[in-house]
């Protein structure tokens, strides 16, 4: 049997819309309105406002002088309250903010580049490398804050470098699959090493320290620690933000990206670096903070749709809000501080399950 007789007859009946490629304002504003850019931009502004409010609120929330909010006049009269806010709380809040923004943006970058909604920046041996590095410093190098930070950052980058080199040498599957496999293997190596270090560690002094670092937390953050992370963090955030539209293209199949004239390999490497460097710098001072990089991009896409031109900045802002609020709870809920990593994992996992159980049937853009 043949198709073509039917083909000829049907071809004439296929309806086409009149071609109205007008260069006038009318056609233009019609096309752009289909993308809802104005609504998305307004929602981003609202989200930015929410972040400012969350930050403002966090400055006053704490357990001094009593659990709750510090009254403004207290700040004016109480020297201790002022010192507490400026020397302890402010650097801590700024770190929480930058940590949330970085993890949110880096998670989005990883999910797009690996075209996989289930990866996050700790992937590729980065998190396990940092954990091993911190434990190594605690057990063998005396565990001063500086050593732990440098060691964690170095091993995080070593994890990335190892994953990358291994992936190049693997003889199995496509590039992305090889990276994922290499990342899993390197993470497993570091986590075995971590287990060994925990076994070797002094159970009274070193083990609690390792455990505390693994749970992650922002207590003891100083301006100095914050400043040491700033160059990597600001650079990484800027690069990711500037690439916010291009990131869409980098999520496409390599051959399609090539057809679009994009050297996808090079640009992906640049963005992975822009995501991993600030992540490594921050977790080296905060310890492991789970789930932010995984869950925040999902919420951002749910609210702002897939186009990373908007969902990437949204992911940054949402990450900031999420981490700030979690840290507020970490500081105030109990007399002793709750490790931040526990709370981000708890709420992150809860929100994740909620999102998965309420898949939207209609795709509408909601304000934040």
């Amino acid at each position: 049997m043949s198709l073509v007789s039917g083909v000829e007859a049907e071809a004439k009946k296929v309806p086409y819309r009149a071609e109205s490629h007008g260069k006038g304002r009318g056609a233009t504003s019609h096309a752009i309105s289909l993308l809802d850019h104005r609504t998305l931009r307004r929602s981003l502004m609202l989200l930015g406002l929410a972040l400012v409010l969350a930050f403002g609120l966090s400055v006053f929330v704490g357990r001094y002088p009593a659990p709750g909010v510090i009254p403004l006049e207290r700040l004016a009269t109480d020297e201790l309250a002022r010192r507490l806010v400026f020397h302890l709380r402010l650097p801590r809040l700024l770190t929480a903010l930058l940590l949330g923004m970085t993890l949110g943006a880096a998670g989005m970058v990883f999910q797009l580049i690996f075209s996989n909604p289930l990866v996050e920046p700790g992937f590729l041996g980065v998190s396990q490398g940092a954990a091993f590095g911190a434990a190594f410093s605690i057990v063998f190098l005396g565990g001063t804050a500086l050593f732990t930070q440098v060691s964690a950052a170095l091993f995080a980058l070593l994890g990335l470098a190892l994953s990358y080199t291994l992936a190049r040498r693997l003889r199995y599957g496509g590039w992305m699959l090889r990276l994922i496999l290499a990342g899993i293997a390197v993470s497993a190596l570091f986590s075995a090493g971590l287990g060994l270090l925990k076994y070797l560690a002094d159970p009274l002094t070193q083990l609690p320290e390792i455990t505390f670092w693994l749970l992650g937390g922002l207590s003891g953050l100083t301006w100095g620690k914050l400043l040491s992370t700033l160059p990597a963090v600001l650079l990484g955030l800027t690069v990711m933000y500037l690439y916010r539209w291009r990131l869409n293209v980098l999520s496409l199949d390599e051959r399609i990206a090539f057809s679009l004239g994009v050297a996808a390999g090079r640009e992906r490497a640049l963005l992975i670096l822009a995501a991993v460097l600030p992540t490594a710098a921050l977790i080296s001072v905060t310890g492991m903070i789970g789930w932010v990089g995984l869950i925040v991009p999902h919420i951002a896409r749910r609210l702002f749709r897939a186009d990373t031109r908007f969902s990437l900045p949204a992911s940054m802002l949402l990450g900031g809000v999420f981490t700030l609020l979690c840290d507020d709870l970490a500081r105030t809920l109990l007399p002793g501080e709750i490790p931040l990593g526990i709370l981000t994992s708890l709420f992150g996992a809860a929100i994740f399950l909620f999102l998965m159980m309420t898949q939207p049937t209609k795709h509408v853009t909601k304000g934040a």
Binding site: M1, S2, L3, V4, S5, G6, V7, E8, E10, A11, V14, P15, Y16, R17, E19, S20, H21, K23, A27, T28, S29, H30, A31, I32, L34, L35, L112, S115, N116, P117, L242, Y243, W245, R246, N248, V249, S251, L252, D253, R255, I256, F258, S259, L260, G261, V262, A263, E267, R301, R305, A306, D307, R309, H363
Partner: protein, 266 residues
């Protein structure tokens, strides 16, 4: 004679040393025509398409686009004149169809540039050209197979569009099995679209498994017969019952009804 839009000169290629997939490929494709690459499974049809794109580099020989060696073209220039339409594409993310078509504008933008309103216009117009402008807001994962294929073509059209004229004569579309897995109605739509693009001056190189689709739309045919140098020429000359029977290894006949030819097997 006008410069060929695409020319292969003595091109050989293989994925493993000592095992060439294609050998001695020679052809010159004139602009504004539809050429179909035909051959059995595994003969190297898609490989040929990726060689034309520049994604694969030939072992030997030379490939030129509009008279320029492929290796001498900057990737952005190449991207503005040559677009790949894959057989299928998967995205786990909920892009709207218009956002997806807009990605075709990439070679017209520098890495940090955002698409302008004009780019959005061009993308929507490309969707109009293939008749899916009404789906602009629909999420890609909710589109049917046929609609997705049309969207991939629209993205390619947005890619080669150079304002003010929506298409350029120095544009080549590379279509990998554009009608595979499509029902009759969608096949007809794709065929009709390819014809209209050709009439607008776009050159098309496509791989295809279906002799009937090739008969309906192709001007030229590149017939790949395993173990022999591929033959290239006008449809009437290359597309014969003997050649097809030999290439596919089964007896095939060409029938003529109402002025149209059909391939039948017995």
């Amino acid at each position: 004679m006008r410069t060929p839009i695409l020319s292969f000169r003595d091109v050989s290629f293989g994925y493993h040393v000592g095992h060439p997939v294609l050998e001695g490929v020679n052809f010159e494709m004139r602009p504004g025509r539809i050429a179909a690459v035909l051959g059995p499974n595994g003969a190297g049809k898609t490989t040929l398409l990726y060689l034309a794109l520049g994604w694969l580099t030939p072992w030997r020989g030379e490939i030129r686009f509009a008279g320029i060696r492929l290796s001498d073209l900057s990737s952005r220039t190449r991207g503005r004149h040559m677009a790949l339409v894959p057989q299928s594409e998967y995205t786990p993310f909920d892009y709207s169809a218009l956002e997806y078509a807009l990605l075709g504008r990439t070679p017209h933008l520098s890495p940090l540039e955002m698409p302008s309103e004009e780019d959005v216009d061009i993308a929507l117009h490309a969707m109009e050209q293939v008749g899916i402008a009404h789906l602009a807001r629909n999420p890609v994962p909710t589109l049917s197979g046929g609609e997705r294929q049309l969207l991939l073509i629209a993205r390619a059209l947005a890619q080669i569009a150079t304002p003010p004229s929506p298409t350029t004569s120095e544009a080549l579309l590379l279509l990998d099995e554009p009608t595979a897995h499509l029902d009759l109605r969608n096949k007809v739509r794709i065929i009709e679209i390819m014809r209209r693009l050709r009439d607008a001056g776009v050159s098309i190189l496509m791989t295809n498994h279906e002799p009937d689709v090739v008969l309906a739309v192709a001007d030229d045919v590149l017939l790949i017969e395993p173990g022999h140098p591929p033959q290239f020429g006008p449809l009437q000359e290359i597309f014969t019952a003997e050649a097809l029977s030999r290439v596919y290894g089964i007896p095939l006949r060409l029938l003529q009804t109402d002025g149209h030819r059909h391939v039948v097997w017995t």
